[in-house]
């Protein structure tokens, strides 16, 4: 495998001289491939830039030819070919920030962050404002827990990508984790104003709650729940937050609606048990906790909490 890559690299490395030689006899396939790429006809790009045709591409277009070919492979599901093409591309053009960042992006999207990070770093060393590399580094930093560093890179990426709601939402989450609630709320609102989504509404609700606006947060969560009524997680979050606000009856109604559909839902049972405990109805609480405590595989933490509560309720003297 490694030998074949090396041979292919050597073959491709000789491309400029061959291109120069053949270019005088045939025609450069780059223009046609570029037009196909711009038109989203990726299979055509792959055909136009076959290994033989690639030899005919003039050197000044070869970097973009590699980029279009690799990206076309990725978009048509041929990821191994895409990785190989990018690998050759960055070996031939190690100072091409676009190729480096595109290759990094492919690896990053595949969850191969350790391999992606050095490519993004190299791209940023060449072009500090490269939005894709800034975004890539920001996302990797945030995933690893480097929120402060992540914030700076998101900020840089947003200078160019300020019309991208997903990036605004990710930025909002990092700000939220850094406890900068007003800025986080602004970023989430910006994301929603560009394109509203249930997930961003939920994020906004979390930010509002952390910022001390519990009622507002419950309202926002209510809108998200109305928008995606099939989302049990949102309904359960809402029921939990209603108990935080002291709205026990409203919480019970929301929770019961979940339990009507999923009677064994461990968190739903736990919420109902805690409401029953609040009302002094320990017998009912025990029954729900006993079922929730058996859900070690589905929700180990909910099960552990339920088991511990059950043990307390079962001590002599507890009614």
């Amino acid at each position: 495998m490694r030998l074949s890559i090396l041979l292919l690299a050597a073959w491709v490395a000789a491309a400029p001289s061959r291109a120069w030689w053949f270019g005088r006899q045939g025609h450069d396939p780059y223009k046609k491939a570029a037009a196909a790429y711009e038109g989203g006809r990726y299979a055509e790009v792959i055909q136009d830039l076959s290994p033989d045709s690639l030899q005919l591409v003039s050197y000044r277009h070869l970097d973009r030819a590699y980029e279009y070919l690799a990206d076309s492979y990725a978009r048509t599901g041929r990821v191994t070919a895409a990785l190989g093409t990018y690998q050759l591309g960055v070996r031939l053009f190690p100072k091409d920030a676009r190729l480096l960042s595109e290759f990094g992006e492919l690896l990053h999207q595949a969850g191969l962050n350790e391999q992606a990070k050095p490519l993004f770093d190299s791209a940023l060393a060449l072009s500090p404002n490269n939005p894709q590399a800034n975004l890539g580094v920001a996302e990797i930093d945030a995933a690893l827990g480097f929120y402060r560093r992540g914030r700076a890179h998101y900020f840089k990426a947003l200078e160019t990508m300020n019309d991208n709601p997903a990036v605004w939402a990710e930025y909002a989450e990092v700000l939220w984790r850094l406890k900068d609630y007003p800025m986080a709320e602004d970023a989430a609102q910006e994301s929603i104003s560009l394109s509203s989504s249930t997930q961003t509404e939920v994020l906004l609700a979390f930010i509002q709650r952390s910022g001390g606006h519990l009622r507002q947060a419950i309202g926002t969560l209510g809108r998200a729940a109305a928008r995606s009524p099939e989302r049990t997680d949102i309904a359960l979050a809402r029921a939990l937050w209603m108990t935080e606000a002291g709205d026990w009856n409203e919480s019970l109604a929301v929770d019961n609606a979940v339990l009507d559909k999923f009677p064994q839902n461990p968190l739903g049972l736990w919420i109902r048990a805690s409401i029953m405990l609040h009302k002094g109805q320990r017998r009912e609480a025990r029954a729900d906790l006993a079922v929730a405590a058996r859900a070690q595989e589905e929700s180990p933490f909910v099960a552990a909490v339920a088991a511990k509560m059950l043990a307390r309720l079962n001590i002599p003297g507890a009614r």
Binding site: A166, E244, F301, M309, I315
Partner: protein, 325 residues
């Protein structure tokens, strides 16, 4: 590149692919943890367990504690008690003085730790050639400068550090007097630094007898203790000179002690050392990053552990079995 579309394609292709974003955890466990954690954080100090951290020895590797503390700070852990041994005592003293972990990193990055600890190449060369132990006075001087000469009693958080009496082999717990001098005694590596004389005793590095000061944290009143342990991986090193041999022997002894001690903690976060040598103070960044990455992966589990420990306090409707302090 259309990132989302590509992500779906790749997600299907790479079975190993995990989410790369710090996404909201809306799982049932995640929602309950978030809810109960908020309830826990809202408890008044006198109605929740006293939370302690025990920061292990580990020389340059011990700088990873800064990263661990930063993640705990960000998650809102209400740390009441800090205990440290050796490098853990340096980081612990700075943190207990009220300097946030993120700021402590900058402070220690800017400080020339190698020269403060008198572990520059020239000093080490002199140690080997002249067979005369080095002085660790620079540690006390630098810490007293950072902490404005504070006494233990003046620190905003309860703090203690551990040293060893060279005559009796006893672990000595410092919790009174000048912080800088105590920390100097705690990180006074035997075989490198001359013993520190303190109240008619000769003190050396506490890591020899108490690698992870969990008991010290409990003596200070901590009821729930998180241990940050920078345990060395001695199997990777191949010592080539006198100092590296000494380093290796200390690492083996420390590792054995750490394995036995960490069982006494309620929760352990153990940043990997990633080959950082005992005296590689120029790798502050790497050590701190390792602390952040490891702690970030473990912080949800740490919250769950503390929530379960404090459940009686969080849910007052339950019949209590453990009285709060």
């Amino acid at each position: 590149m259309n990132r989302r579309l590509l992500g779906i394609t790749l997600g299907a292709f790479f079975l190993c692919a995990g989410t790369s974003r710090a996404a909201l955890d809306l799982s049932q466990d995640g929602l309950l943890r978030d809810h109960l954690w908020n309830e826990f954080l809202a408890l008044p100090k006198n109605r929740r367990p006293i939370v302690g951290v025990a920061l292990s020895a580990g020389s340059a590797r011990g700088l990873a504690h800064i990263g661990v503390l930063q993640v705990l700070d960000d998650a809102g852990f209400p740390i009441d008690v800090v205990a440290g041994t050796s490098m853990g005592s340096v980081v612990g003293a700075v943190y207990a003085s009220g300097i946030p972990a993120a700021r402590a990193k900058t402070l220690l990055e800017n400080a020339d730790l190698r020269s403060i600890a008198n572990l520059g190449t020239f000093s080490l060369l002199r140690l080997v050639i002249s067979d005369k132990l080095l002085s660790s006075r620079g540690v006390a001087t630098a810490l007293n400068r950072y902490l404005a000469g504070k006494q233990f009693e003046e620190l905003p958080k309860r703090f203690a550090c551990v040293s060893m009496d060279l005559d009796s082999g006893e672990a000595i717990l410092f919790r009174q007097g000048n912080v800088g001098e105590a920390v100097r005694a705690s990180m006074n590596l035997p075989g490198v630094f001359a013993p520190v004389e303190y109240r008619q005793r000769y003190m050396v590095d506490g890591g020899v007898v108490d690698y992870i000061p969990i008991d010290a944290a409990r003596i200070m009143g901590a009821q729930w203790v998180l241990a940050s342990v920078t345990e060395p991986d001695y199997t990777l090193s191949r010592p080539k000179n006198v100092l590296q041999n000494l380093d290796q022997v200390i690492d083996i002894r420390s590792s054995l002690m750490a394995s036995a001690q960490e069982k006494r903690a309620n929760f352990v976060i153990a940043p990997g050392s990633d080959g950082i040598g005992m005296f590689q103070f120029d790798r502050v960044d790497e050590a701190v990053d390792e602390g952040i990455i490891t702690a970030h992966k473990r912080v949800d589990a740490a919250e769950e552990n503390l929530i379960l420990f404090a459940l009686d306090d969080i849910l007052p409707a339950l019949p209590a079995t453990r009285s709060s302090p």
